[in-house]
Symmetry: C2
Subunit: 881 residues, 2 copies
């Protein structure tokens, strides 16, 4: 080894109010080690110890599992230091000091790596420990626990085949012999017997004697922790959580302290504020004469932490001082662990405490008011995705759930209702004032009315971006989709899951945030959006630079979206308007027409209706921009596919069933997603887009200057599609202008949702005034995934780590993002003031919002209920710049 | 105007064995002007004249239709020069000289622009012409033709509304009065009457007198030619032919010569070799005492050109000398026009002659043998696409076609057969030795056997890349697809087109090169591939650097492809193997299995069969690489969709119809193109790919070193899909190696057919040893076009100029090409020796082959019958470097 390496520092000491490390050294010392050092540096009593750095872990794996030469000496020097501080001696029977060895990576990997406690015991030292503690049971129990753990973790004693763990088998044997059932009924003699039996097991299984040398035990423990970094389960966990393998883990070696040496001992966990409400009270629990694991295990019922005040007033006072110090120091709510050993308080851990969304908001706002943090810090303290919990009704958490099946959590919220299977039925029942839940194999645009009328939607097929899911999220309606266990029998008016049969009319509840389907009615709680929530959002708005628009198709949705803070409509889909009420019959009349003239006749009837739609929306959004997408779906979506509905259509339109069937057949497509839709319809049937453009511009003329229309041409793949339709739009605009005598300002732009459009963005931007990235379709085509079908493999892909995320939920920055970035850059290159936004599901996903901010978009657009999330995410992105 | 512009040269003179221009100046003088100058420069007698350059045209449109100041003087100077050469005087009644004004762009735009003949006539000069020619009829007829053309072209006299042309109406009026029917029966008096009537028409329609000043007439003619460059029809033509608008046209002003002044006059057109066979004989026809247009019009029957020898021996001798001079000079077969005026020969035009594919090949090879051109020139003389004519049977061209309907020319060739509607029927009939034509709404993989058995395939639906089209081209089988006029009634065993009903068993013929569907049997001719064809191809092979492989799935196709020159298999699809004979039942058994074990049981039965397939192919391709694509289509393609077939399947597999229907239903997809297929199947059902990899490697082990397998994983979109399957492949390879004791060399690579794969090519190439661009699917996803559905709008898109080409036929270099180039570059960046090719339809398209050469691919792969085309295109690309 070189001299330079000899001098490198591998071990950092902490204890006695001092520390070589600090909280900033998380990457080198791991999270646990860094916080122990920080606490010690603050003068807070932590059991003395030292941290072996993550660099040793990396060295270990880079050098065939050898340690750097300098390590041994540094470890032994630090053992001496901690002996000095703690006043005991490691390996000394007269004044024994025991150690714990724990892992500690940069980020927490709960339960993934190994821990060894009570290191430093052998027969002789155990006797010494008993003398010192005056507690033989404590001594023998510690010893047998140590052998069991060390035998398993370090020496690799494991059950073979189908046998049960050999140590557990020995315990069972002893208890059986003694005729007792509870571990606590074992006598000291029993524990001594177990120690002997455990040593035999180790010898028999490993061929080695259990090591009696504490130093050997210590290195064994250290090696086991480093070794566990590359254990299968840790590797899998890292892959799932995207943790690089070369980060490595640190090893924390720390003096043991005991909360179970007598009634002047205790152990507990606490939060510096209430983690579920955020209230500024000290909140936690403790057990007298117990170990940390007993609090968690729930064998005894812990007491509220304030009772410690009367039991151990001095220790409690110290604890109170410490928690306040820690909160002020870390400037955040802390999750702490402590042990009182013979009336002395020791802190074992502090870390930022997990909290509910409501608590996160309240704590952040309170801390600003207390002068503890700034407004920007407060904004950064709340995870955007968390807000979703606050924006929808939730089930009463105290109510026990009777879960029947689980589908995809497609649209958050909670809903209970009587099961109906037909959209019309849902509408009728809702009119009667009944709460219903619409259960379908899948939904289609014809079901919109029923979806709106129902409390929630449950489907057996389709993924997170299926029709049901997308529409439900847009409506802010609870939806569980793709619940494959449901076997729906429309004819029998029932569905079944396994042997359970649910009839139409039975009560069922669904949780759109977990995907759970429950029998019966479960009470719900409504969300609260004012107060601290509103305060925090107003701060977020001051920091963000990205605008947030909404996807909304009706005046009602527009109004809801404005309440959530929408700064415009980024996507107004016109196809939903084609289904409402009697319109669908006019639309069908148009589709059935033999020629352009026939189509124009039908479109003339639609014109005033569409104009009215747009007037309503322009009025609702007064002064804010409204991006209207011209008709997008293929025409066959507007025709009925079931024969009774086809017969009714034939009657209504006074034609034969055969004519309808022929039309349905002729419009049928193998891959409708890649078919005759979007601007392809606008090119082949120009009269449809002409009517829509006229409706938009006439509406704008009627509403006046507070109408800010942006006309969006969907599915453009080649610049000539765009120019042809832009020329048409300008022509209609001139006509409307001369007919109404009013000048309407409008933009014409396009959705970039075809990979080729992104690739040729420079050409398109020469003519288009704005781009809106339709990342749903762009993802479909860039990946070659049909979002309606991908459910069949996407789950498995995410599970196996082939995909990090469902790309329909979080924008794939590596692939799809390349096209978005390229399209934005080249588009702006051709037109400096090109307005660029994103619409579709990703507009409400925090990571995707971040990406949009980073590449310099003007806005994101998302469904109304995701707006606060997008606003907060945009603020985070701006603050990270 | 600046002095510099004054000095610019706008007009180039030719005549009297001299010329200011030459053939190289095509861009400046247009094709016609450049060749006239070239001929004159060679001393060949052309009527003297001059060319106004294309730059004047550009100037004219850039400057509000003004000419450069210097033009007028240059034109008048050149008129004086040609008067001098021709010995007449423009505008002089005693020694009249008449002029023609013709357009001439860089490339020929036949019939798109204007021509004015006989410029320089008025009443007085006409009399002078009659005196000089001693031919009053000639004089008056020239005059009335001049007024008619000039009135139309220059003065804009055109029919109004639905009236017929007013000049033609006047002619009809005169003939009616005189009771005659033929123009030739008109007397000199009649013609004089017409001249007066024509002048009246001009005056009445335009308000202006017909101009009597020859100089004014000349400028009128020049203006009309320049003006016609921006006429609607010319603009449309240029858009369709991709001719830039700023090229402009030149104007050729030339002395008139006449072949119709008497029996010592003649006019004719000829080719220097036979344009249909390529035979080295002088080939053409002429008419005595006639004008050029008479030869074309076919009023009189022209005589073969060699008869001119006896009629006008001197003129013929000159013509013979000239044509030989021209062919030697241009080093190519020429298409010439000539006029004999009073025994003097004048050449009016020469240009490269159009020729059939057979002629092109023979002429190219002959000219090399004659020492006229080099081998590389010979290779460049034949258009790759033309070869297609030579590679398939064709109908006897003398046979009159009774065309019933027209579909898409989906796979070239000619086929006659008795109509059958079911694939099985086709197989049975073929076994009986009958010729049948398979007629289907569309085909599916189940129909492969019947398609193979039939002479040709005719479908009512589907585009150029539908299943029928792709499979037929692969088989080299004639196919007409998407013939929308066909109404097929399977139950009645007939189809109809309008009122015509064709029953099963009736004879029908289809032309896969034109898309025509004919009633009855039409005799066919077989292609000839040896001789000159083979010689030319061997030369092409010496020049090209791109390898050409084939798409082939059977030993038979492989053998055919080797005959066509394949240097390997670029795409061996394994799915077709799943349908043959009894295999489909094993495949279905696998699909129906409830669990992995059940699937493995079925796959074990398939293993030896697949192994046999690969052994056959490896043997056929001995020593050449074979890229085998693992299973690609979604599983539902292997299940029957019609209920009688489902019932049969249930019987065979001893299960219930319901089980089959449930499976079909559960595998049903909204967009199968974007669904559960390709490597997505390989990931979710690893056992399928394991079996295939094993079959490939075991076959290679059995065949020995002449097997060169390249295992291709389809539809990769993310690198982890690839790595997971590569690990599997390597694992199976080690197992096969240890089982057989033989080491098999193999590559593992992927198809790049998902846009995301191209975007992340660098990541993928770290693990993949080759890329094969699947540009069919890549085009589908980059454009968002389903090739099965796009027929509904693609035709209109190409017609309207929204797309320049069908992107499934010619690779879209702007969009899809960007991904191909990026993927190649980034892939090679990550792995220097990455083998890169293209498979799919574009591999046989000359423009696409060119592109593949330019971006540095290693090979293209195409269907066997396109191989010579790809070889020749690759040679062209290399020679153009």
């Amino acid at each position: 080894m070189s001299k330079a390496q000899q001098e490198e520092k591998y071990v950092y000491f902490f204890g006695d109010g001092k520390a070589e490390g600090s909280a900033e050294m998380r990457n080198l010392l791991g999270g646990k080690g860094a916080n122990l050092a920080e606490m010690s540096g603050l003068g807070i009593p932590v059991p003395a110890g030292f941290t072996i750095t993550t660099e040793v872990c990396t060295y270990y794996y880079d050098n065939d599992k050898q340690y750097p030469d300098a390590l041994e000496k540094q470890v032994m020097d630090n053992v001496a230091k901690l002996e000095n501080v703690m006043g005991g001696k490691f390996g000394d029977a007269t004044n024994p000091l025991l150690l714990s060895v724990r892992s500690g990576a940069r980020v927490s990997m709960p339960g993934m790596m190994e821990t060894v406690l009570n290191l430093g015991l052998n027969d002789e030292i155990t006797e010494g420990l008993i003398v010192r503690s005056n507690n033989p049971r404590f001594g023998w129990d510690s010893y047998r626990r140590f052998i069991q753990t060390y035998g398993d973790v370090v020496m690799g004693v494991a059950p073979e085949g189908i046998e049960i763990d050999p140590f557990e088998a020995a315990i069972e044997e002893v208890k059986e012999k003694r005729g007792i059932q509870d571990d606590l009924d074992m006598t000291v003699e029993d524990l001594k017997t177990l120690v002997d039996m455990f040593k035999d097991i180790v010898k028999k299984r490993t061929g080695q004697n259990f090591p009696t040398d504490p130093i050997e035990q210590l290195w064994g423990g250290i090696g086991a922790v480093f070794g566990s970094w590359q254990a299968d389960r840790a590797i899998t966990y890292r892959r799932l959580e995207n943790i690089p393998g070369d980060w490595g883990t640190a090893v924390n070696v720390q003096s043991m302290v005991y909360g179970n040496m007598g009634d002047d001992c205790a152990t507990g966990v606490a939060f510096t504020r209430d983690p579920s409400t955020g209230e500024n009270i000290f909140y936690g629990e403790f057990l007298t004469n117990a170990q940390g694991e007993d609090v968690v295990a729930g064998v005894r019922t812990p007491e509220p932490v304030d009772r410690l005040k009367s039991r151990q007033p001095e220790a409690y006072q110290t604890l109170e001082d410490i928690y306040q110090t820690l909160e002020k120091h870390y400037r955040d709510m802390q999750d702490i662990e402590f042990t009182v050993q013979q009336s002395k308080l020791w802190m074992l851990q502090t870390r930022g405490g997990k909290r509910t969304a409501a608590a996160a908001v309240k704590i952040a706002v309170d801390m600003v008011n207390e002068g503890l943090i700034t407004q920007s810090e407060a904004v950064q303290r709340v995870e955007p995705e968390q807000l979703d919990q606050l924006l929808h009704p939730t089930f009463d958490p105290t109510f026990e759930r009777n879960v029947l099946a689980k589908g995809l959590p497609a649209s958050p919220g909670a809903a209970s209702g009587k099961v109906v299977f037909l959209a019309e039925e849902a509408e009728e029942a809702a009119e009667q004032g009944e709460q219903v839940l619409l259960v379908r194999l899948e939904t289609s645009p014809e079901d919109i009315g029923g979806m709106n009328a129902a409390q929630g939607i449950l489907t057996a097929r389709g993924g997170m971006t299926s029709h049901a899911a997308v529409v439900a999220r847009g409506m802010g309606k609870c939806c569980v989709a793709g619940c494959g266990d449901l076997v729906i029998d429309y004819t029998a008016n029932q569905f079944s899951v396994g042997d359970t049969v649910v009839k139409g009319g039975d009560w069922v509840s669904i949780d759109g945030s977990t995907g759970e389907v429950m029998l019966g009615q479960v009470p719900t709680q409504e969300p609260e959006l004012s107060g601290d929530f509103a305060t925090l959002m107003s701060w977020a708005d001051e920091f963000r630079t990205l605008n947030v628009r909404t996807n909304a198709d009706t005046p009602h949705d527009s109004a809801v979206a404005r309440e959530f803070g929408a700064e415009g409509i980024g996507l107004c889909r016109t196809e939903h308007m084609f289904f409402e009420g009697d319109r669908i019959n006019i639309v069908r009349e148009m589709i059935l027409a033999d020629d352009e003239q026939g189509r124009r006749r039908a479109l003339e009837k639609l014109l005033p209706i569409q104009r009215g739609d747009f007037e309503g929306i322009f009025n609702a959004m007064a002064g804010l921009p409204v991006t209207v997408r011209l008709l997008d779906p293929p025409l066959h979506e507007f025709l009925p596919h079931e024969s009774d509905q086809q017969e009714e259509m034939a009657r209504r339109l006074d034609t034969s069933l055969r004519v309808i069937q022929d039309k349905v057949e002729s419009l049928n497509e193998f891959n409708p997603m890649l078919g005759h839709r979007g601007c392809r319809l606008g090119i082949t049937y120009p009269e449809i887009y002409e009517m829509q453009v006229r409706a938009i511009l006439e509406a704008a003329a009627n509403v006046g200057s507070k109408a800010v229309p942006e006309i969006m041409i969907p599915l453009v793949g080649t610049v000539k599609e765009f120019t042809e339709l832009k020329i048409m739009t300008d022509r209609i605009a001139r006509a409307v202008e001369s007919e109404t005598g009013k000048r309407v300002a409008y933009l014409v732009g396009t959705m970039i949702e075809i990979p080729r459009a992104a690739l040729t963005a420079a050409e398109i931007a020469e003519h288009a005034e704005f781009f809106s990235f339709g990342t749903n379709d762009l993802t479909q085509m860039t990946y070659g995934y049909s979002r309606d079908d991908a459910g069949k493999f996407l789950g498995e892909y995410v599970e196996k780590g082939i995909l990090e995320n469902d790309p329909f939920q979080t924008l794939d920055q590596t692939g799809v993002g390349q096209l978005v970035e390229l399209g934005t850059k080249n588009g702006r290159g051709a037109r400096g003031d090109l307005k660029v936004g994103i619409c579709g599901e990703h507009g409400g996903d925090p990571a995707s919002v971040h990406f949009c901010h980073n590449i310099g978009m003007d806005y994101v657009s998302c469904s109304p209920f995701r707006i606060p999330i997008a606003r907060l995410a945009a603020a985070h992105a701006a603050l990270e710049d």
